[in-house]
Symmetry: C3
């Protein structure tokens, strides 16, 4: 497609391979220096342990974390990947670049999170196990959220740069929020969704394209691309209880995280449908809302899921999130684009940023309102981990630190996004011209063009299909009877 290069150089034959190779080699070297198996995964500790300690199923966290890990893993690669396939002609980029970015991000996350959270002082090594893999997937989620804002407008090289910095920023803000402020955020309302949301929105704001409507023909969805997107929506929706409960301490907190998220998401679906129907002249539903706003409840319960928010409390959170998120798609997104010049392809502001902030607030309030009568003395200590340096902390101060944590995640998202965005503005990354946005043909070998036929030819093409319609309707009868 030479006419692309005439307009803008989208040739990434040099940059993409170089980045992939150099960064992967760097990963190998850094892993060689820092990463080792943890005690449960390494065999040479056998002697040092009672024999039953290593083969006994009870002591072995693998069986209790691994199913949660696989659910989260599916959310990262199938969930996020397919959720973004809704565009008419950018499904390869959605699922393919999501795949690439996540695969790099999780390696870098193991290192960054390791340095900040689990670097062993004596050996200077990072010891990884199944739980580390879950945390790496979580970290990647933040970057994939950001991808949603710039979907179709950046090159894979830019995405990799976004991820490199995104993971780095994530590990730092996570360390500040969870370790220094000792805020609780099991499902990452603040750490993952608020940060990821504002990180992506700010980058999209820096990369604003005034003439984006030149690629209007490629915007919007086709019938089957909307169904592909529902695969992503459903796998995110179904496994969100695993997401919010994956790394909580074993015991009652993990149960609550799963139950609360399950209930919250169910109630989100009903209010999303209600608002979506209200928004159309004849009450028709809009796939954009069903694909996205139904998930807002899971985001908003990311912090409070493990608290004693109570089942009806979870339903209430979901109730309002469905309303607010759908309203966001109807009113706020157009406003963001027209007034603030933020082009948010997937509407991550309505699905992640806003619900993430709500989640942070809900978390702060429910923490501050926690009482011994509800939690019990030991329960409070277990739930908020009031141990060690924090054993004298009151629930009220905890609420304050939760709120502080949320501000940290916003600041990191906005400031980090501004810096990374300006790096991405350099003219070296091979990003597409305004008229070629949302088009897989820029970065992918696309086998056929049926669906993107120039308007002039469209008519003849349809003459050809006349005679087929008959045979089609014949079959239909048969199909219907069966």
């Amino acid at each position: 497609m030479d006419y692309f290069s005439r307009q803008k150089n989208t040739n990434i034959r040099l940059t993409l391979p170089v980045v992939c190779f150099v960064w992967q080699i760097a990963m190998i070297i850094l892993f060689g220096v820092f990463i080792r198996y943890d005690e449960e995964s390494d065999t040479h500790w056998v002697e040092t342990k009672a024999h039953d300690n290593i083969t006994s199923d009870i002591e072995n966290d693998f069986y209790f974390r691994y199913p949660s890990f696989q659910d989260v893993h599916v959310m990262i690669f199938v969930g996020f990947g397919f959720l973004m396939t809704f565009l008419k002609r950018y499904s390869f980029g959605a699922v393919g670049f999501n795949f690439l970015v996540a695969s790099f991000g999780l390696q870098w996350a193991l290192l960054m999170q390791g340095w900040f959270h689990s670097l062993d002082p004596q050996t200077g090594k990072i010891f990884i196990g199944v739980e580390s893999l879950i945390n790496a997937d979580f970290c990647v989620a933040g970057c994939l959220i950001a991808y949603g804002a710039v979907l179709g407008k950046v090159s894979p090289v830019q995405l990799l740069v976004m991820t490199l910095f995104g993971v780095t920023l994530f590990a730092v803000e996570e360390y500040i929020i969870l370790n220094l402020l000792h805020a609780r955020d099991a499902g990452g309302s603040m750490v993952i969704h608020t940060f990821g949301g504002y990180y992506g929105l700010t980058i999209s704001w820096v990369l604003y394209r005034p003439n984006l409507n030149q690629s209007k023909r490629m915007q919007g969805s086709v019938y089957h691309s909307d169904i592909f997107a529902m695969i992503g929506t459903l796998f995110l929706w179904m496994f969100w209880p695993s997401f919010n409960s994956a790394i909580t301490d074993h015991g009652d907190g993990q149960h609550r995280a799963a139950i609360n998220t399950y209930l919250c998401l169910a109630s989100t679906v009903l209010t999303t449908v209600a608002i979506s129907s209200l928004s159309q002249k004849t009450g028709k539903l809009d796939m954009v809302h069903i694909q996205n706003s139904t998930l807002a409840g899971g985001v908003a319960l990311g912090t409070a899921a493990e608290f004693m928010i109570s089942p009806y409390g979870a339903l209430i959170v979901g109730f309002f999130c469905g309303i607010i998120s759908t309203m966001g798609y109807i009113f706020i997104s157009p406003f963001l684009e027209k007034t603030l010049k933020i082009q948010d392809t997937c509407g991550i502001h309505n699905l992640h940023a806003m619900p993430g902030v709500i989640g942070g607030i809900v978390g702060a309030i429910t923490a501050a309102a926690a009482s011994e009568s509800v939690y019990g003395k030991q329960g409070l200590i277990n739930t908020f981990d009031f141990t060690g340096d924090f054993k004298d902390r009151t629930v009220l101060t905890q609420g304050g630190y939760q709120a502080a944590g949320m501000c940290v995640s916003i600041v990191f998202g906005v400031v980090g996004g501004a810096i990374v965005g300006s790096i991405l503005r350099l003219p070296i990354w091979g990003d597409p011209a305004d008229e070629n946005c949302f088009d897989d043909e820029v970065y992918w070998e696309v086998s056929e063009h049926q669906e993107s036929i120039p308007p002039i030819l469209e008519y003849n093409n349809h003459m050809i299909h006349k005679q087929q319609d008959l045979s089609e309707s014949n079959f239909s009868v048969e199909h219907c009877e069966s």
Copy 2:
């Protein structure tokens, strides 16, 4: 699309939001009054328990039920949802309304099942845990089966009404069958499939549309919609062993339930293919059969899966179910439509009702035939739970009660379906006109129209397309902004 309203008023802009809001608010209130976390999920019992009792992995059922829960959850939302996407132009409705209905149903099911099965006499509360979530999903399955019969012919409001009553009836018949009759039905051949099947068929019979062939152009599938449907088929097929073993007692019964279902389904596939090939002039296979009849074995083993039916017994059940179910699509469905005036869009009679009845019979026979030589004395007591009031029951009487249970499920399905069906005939629900059935454009904003154009219009259609292109691009803008 004003010309719809001219024919029949399908405007649900008032009814759908009202129903969603009112019912969701009702759920919140009822949950506030009745639903609490169970002992494993609530933290304020920590003191009352040995500390290791709450954090110990061994005592914690979460890790042993949760993976089964997630498998069942996938079957409900992806399995049932995508199985119904086979229609040319009703995939939004299939997967979207399935999503809506299930999300409401599981909340209502937690209440209904709680009142009947686990209401605590002292506190008057319902204590929920992970197992409650599985049961709620099971209850919803009954209503989604019923949806299959009326797919494309009802409005989302009617579906919500169907679900409200369906869940209510389900909880009652489940209580009668499992608690009063003390019948065993781990995988719900009777409670879920027989009830759901006859409930849907009776509703479809009451809502009979003599002029349904006016929407013939929309019936039947297109190539890619059949592949989407296979996603649903496969996830149902693969996770059915989890479905039948999810709520059985831990121990050998749970192993058998998984193994038997796995084997039974495998043998169903072969006989389904055989009959499907026999039914066509040149031995070609019919996707309708592969998508549906391959699942009949799992339905038919819902009751007997946990019994000592033996591996080859499971294969035999699958063998005949594949034959009978495929025959059903070829011979019985046309007969039902022509003679009994039952329009069964997905053929749930062949996939759920008939195999469900077979499952009930198989369960009754295998229970009556159970012997101490096969089960062992303790084994019989464990398998059929001959304890408490039922400790003197013989396997023969048990067989009788199993058969009685099946009759109860049929009666509840037929009578309940008749009542609910007549309620749904009221002209207030915004159901589509005969010529607009199976068409997503009635209830969904559809972005492009390529595949659903009446032949005559096809040419002008492109003239139309011009003007649509605007609306489409409007949509696109919206879509993009969002």
Copy 3:
């Protein structure tokens, strides 16, 4: 479609049903004679065991194997099935025949593996449990790999014959490699992938079709078929850590298998993208590479996953596998077709055969290089199971036996494939004519013809697509060769 029969008789109305019925009945009889529930699944052992032994969750392997089983199960039916849907017009055959073949194969595998691995000498019975189901799925995987080489060129009857012999050969080579040679191969680099790869390639070589380009119009993919294929790719990729760890002994080895596979696959994605981009003039990515080569790392770590290969070691293996596998699609596949007359539809040589051999070599080297300093004394014994007859074996001899095992798997693949291939050449199996290959209409009732326009119209249609067709047919060839 009578004009098919004029060319070649593809009528399978007799053969397919007969084979399905007869073989399924044979399965029922053989299961009746040989297969019984194992101790954990059978209830009549309750007396003979301490009561807590049967209901206790800790002793019950079900909960620790079952989630792995379900992940593997998804890989077999959704993973392999959808990976092969990439062809423009053969998606029904891909997912449907995969479904049929796997359902027969797993029954036959339970018998064959039972006879060779777990036949009880006293009773002459095979006792099956959840782990047997995993092994049966593994065995089936070998045959599905072989299917990839002949995709679109054989009849379902031929596939069933391929599977009957494939499973038989598999059980024998598995017995020789794992039991007699006592080689370790938890993830089946040798037993599954090397064997399956060469088995399929040899069959495809025997069935060489010189005039296959007559069906060129059906070769290559369309936009949405490539997205369907990504569903298969991602579920294989995500669950591969479960595949490689499913049947390892509990404890540290299982952790390593999961962690190593996770890391190896991540690094494969980056190098696959790099080489794919390098291979195109403007650095565009090729879906064929992303769909397939990204999985090569999982194959290559099948043997060594449970060893102490160390995290960076896993990354290195993935690094080179991504490069070699993608290079394979670009250079080796065309060579195989032109020079060696091997038509490999899915490119299993690059995804399974070659990476499988690499995996065998990596396994042999890492085994031979294993040292007490790394594994610890007890660790070496645990990892390589140096017990019983093998307690005196050194790691060096172990390395030798690993290499020997790989040769066995290649020999079984090539020799077995040659024999089975010549059986499949008999003119009785109803395979398609050269001009009807890769076309679902030969074996499936297809509802609409949009994408497969009758030859007469095709011309005009192509006029429209001229400028595209060049790129398309180029692509197609490439796509087919690969």
